[in-house]
């Protein structure tokens, strides 16, 4: 790809060359026409004088002009020639300058006189005019006009001098054009360099922006109006990049933080256990606690992996008929014991005919996370229930639970990675704030949407997917 500088230079110089060539051609053509017109006018004038000097008397032609009075017809370097012919092409008289040569005989066509350029036998270029005329009638032949016989006169002049002048003009124009193009190159280089200076300045500023100083922006001082939109777009891109890097950094910090705490627990358990000799029960207890912490970490890493796969498009989803009521009941099983221990009542109000065409594994993850979350945050003796509602765009499933303590602002943040209602980490690994983030990513990957609401101590999450068969 050519650089902008090269393109502008080539464009300017190319344009200049075309303009100059065009200008040269026009000037050359005009001057050439003017010179030839003058030349032709002088030929025509000479032909007129010569033709006026011919008189027919007693059926004889009388040539009344003295060749010696017009030296150019007698020969020389800038010679002129004439030759008279009868109308049938028989030569009558010619100028001494022709010596043994003859001019080419030609008749004027549709015009009293016709011009033509040709080359003499000795190679000299000449231009001639042919005139068809009636000679004057003499006093002794008053009736000659009754039987007029026209003559052909061809007058020619050497055009070598004229062509030499035109060649000189051609050289002059060429040299002037080459000089002008050279000058144009120098001017174009300066103009392009100055014109592109703001772009170079912007490029230098961009070059200075590194991953660790994404806060810097491209200054708009001294920027021409054409560059300002680009500068604004670049600054906007930088702002988005900065936000993206910040999110990435925060996410990495969150991941590191969430992994550090259980890791600290495991290390502490092992460190403390190894401080002295212990009996088998104590070792077993330590190993069991470590395993539990490792399981929690594993669960968190598994969620992170799913999130990463969804983000990078590596997660594949099938489309099959999923009976949602059955799915919710199946997903509830692992939590039923914990819910019963806390006195939490669960109600599944979904119609058994409600079918969504989607990925059963993805939907299971969504429902399990929502129920897990609900059991965790529902108050003791509270209630969790699942219902369906028909909307303008299809059917949504609503998971609701009592015991909500979230504010409106907190509710709007529940789908963020590692977000939790308070800063507690007592369930790190299991409830590390990834469940609802995962729900949102999966449902969006399945083509649906999710939203959360909280009011009057109730927390509800609505999920929507394109409907196949409504069993409401």
């Amino acid at each position: 790809m050519w650089s902008l500088r090269l393109r502008l230079m080539c464009g300017m110089i190319g344009g200049m060359v075309v303009l100059l060539i065009g200008f040269d051609l026009i000037v050359y053509h005009i001057i050439s026409r003017v010179l030839f017109n003058q030349f032709d006018a002088s030929l025509e004038s000479a032909a007129r004088i010569l033709s006026a000097s011919v008189e027919r008397d007693d059926n004889k032609l009388d040539f009344e002009f003295d060749v010696e009075m017009v030296p150019e017809f007698t020969g020389g370097t800038r010679s002129a020639y004439y030759e008279f012919w009868r109308n049938d092409g028989v030569p009558i008289r010619k100028s001494p300058s022709l010596a043994s040569d003859d001019l080419i005989w030609f008749k004027p066509v549709n015009h009293p006189h016709t011009f033509r350029s040709f080359v003499m036998n000795d190679g000299r270029p000449i231009r001639a005019v042919a005139v068809n005329f009636l000679p004057r009638t003499g006093k002794n032949n008053p009736n000659a006009a009754d039987s007029p016989q026209s003559l052909i006169l061809v007058v020619a002049r050497d055009t070598g001098y004229l062509l030499a002048q035109l060649r000189f003009l051609k050289y002059l124009l060429s040299i002037a054009s080459i000089g002008a193009i050279g000058l144009a190159c120098a001017v174009a280089a300066v103009v392009v360099r100055r014109g592109l200076a703001p772009l170079s300045a912007v490029a230098a500023q961009i070059d200075n922006i590194r991953e660790d100083n994404l806060k810097s922006r491209i200054a708009d001082e001294h920027l021409p109006a054409e560059i300002v939109p680009i500068q604004k777009q670049l600054n906007s891109l930088l702002a988005r990049l900065e936000a993206s890097f910040e999110r990435e950094r925060a996410f990495s910090a969150d991941v590191a933080h969430e992994l550090r705490t259980p890791l600290a627990g495991i290390r502490s358990i092992i460190d403390v256990t190894l401080t002295r000799d212990r009996d088998a029960a104590e070792y077993r207890s330590a190993l069991s606690e470590s395993l539990s912490a490792i399981n929690n970490m594993e669960a968190m890493v598994a969620k992170l992996l799913i999130l990463a796969r969804i983000e990078t498009g590596q997660m594949t989803f099938n489309r099959e008929q999923v009976r949602m009521a059955e799915l919710v009941n199946r997903c509830w099983c692992p939590f039923s014991g914990k819910a019963a221990a806390a006195g939490i009542v669960f109600e599944n109000h979904l119609n058994s005919a409600l079918v969504w065409k989607s990925d059963v594994a993805g939907l299971s993850m969504i429902v399990s996370n929502l129920l897990d979350n609900a059991v965790e945050y529902t108050d003791r003796g509270g209630r969790i229930w699942v219902t369906a509602r028909k909307t303008d765009v299809g059917t949504e499933i609503i998971f609701e639970n009592t015991g909500n303590q979230l504010t409106g602002k907190q509710t709007s943040e529940v789908f963020g990675c590692f977000w939790r209602g308070d800063s507690a980490r007592s369930n790190t690994g299991v409830h590390c704030g990834l469940g609802l983030a995962l729900v949102k990513r999966i449902i969006e990957a399945l083509g649906g949407s999710v939203c959360a609401e909280s009011q009057n101590g109730l927390f509800s999450i609505r999920i929507y997917l394109p409907l196949v068969k409504n069993g409401l």
Binding site: A256, A264, I269, D271, A424
Partner: protein, 222 residues
């Protein structure tokens, strides 16, 4: 020496409590921020080990409250937050030390011992009262060339008295720094353990080290 551990991640809380108790510290534990503040305000702990991300009240708020109310306990922040900004913020808000998770338990113990020395203006890791030597790191005691074997509680009592050597230490002080919050309150317990300790460290041929100051308490090495 008495420690308050405020940590909400249960596996870590349990293992630390066990390890600290086995290392001879009296440990009170909570996993709740507000409860942690209440404990800290109610007792004179030698060191408070404080997590930052806690339910109901975060660690930095607890730290701020304690410093505002002129509680001069030594505070060690134990957290997964590892950036320089986090450390600077924690230390500038009045923490005495900052340890990032995960950590070696031995390092935590060493830092606690260092904080204890600072609390009682000690520089040397070995305490020496006349011919009584106490190696705080290894928790071993000698009188002259003879090593004295002490139980964990007896050692805690001796170390506390040695840290405050030359000062009269009341029974209440001993109770507050050697016994945990949930220990059965009894004024006799201190006297009984002082008796056990006296039997082990006093030798007939040597001058007495531990004296009773009637109506006030006990004094070691004066």
């Amino acid at each position: 020496m008495r420690i308050l551990l405020v940590e909400d991640y249960l596996p870590l809380q349990k293992s630390l409590t066990k390890g600290l108790r086995e290392s001879g510290f009296a440990v009170d534990v909570t996993g709740d921020g507000q409860e942690g503040l209440w404990y800290a305000m109610s007792n004179d702990y030698d060191v408070i080990i404080l997590d930052l991300m806690l339910p109901r009240m975060d660690g930095l708020s607890i730290l701020k409250q304690l410093r505002v109310k002129n509680k001069n306990n030594h505070i060690l922040i134990l957290t997964a937050k590892d950036t320089a900004e986090d450390r600077i913020k924690g230390l500038d808000m009045g923490a005495d030390d900052y340890l990032v998770k995960p950590f070696a338990f031995g390092e935590l113990l060493a830092r606690l011992r260092a904080l204890m020395r600072r609390r009682y203006d000690q520089k040397c890791p070995c305490l020496k009262i006349h011919d009584l030597h106490i190696d705080v790191a290894s928790r071993r005691v000698w009188r002259g060339d003879e090593e004295i074997i002490l139980t964990s509680r007896e050692y805690m009592l001796l170390e506390y008295l040695a840290m405050r050597a030359g000062q009269v230490v009341s029974r209440t002080d001993i109770w507050e720094h050697v016994y945990e919050f949930n220990s059965e309150a009894s004024s006799n317990v201190v006297d009984v353990y002082i008796g056990y300790l006296r039997k082990k460290i006093e030798k007939e041929a040597k001058p007495p080290l531990l004296r009773t100051v009637r109506g006030q308490g006990y004094i070691l090495g004066a």
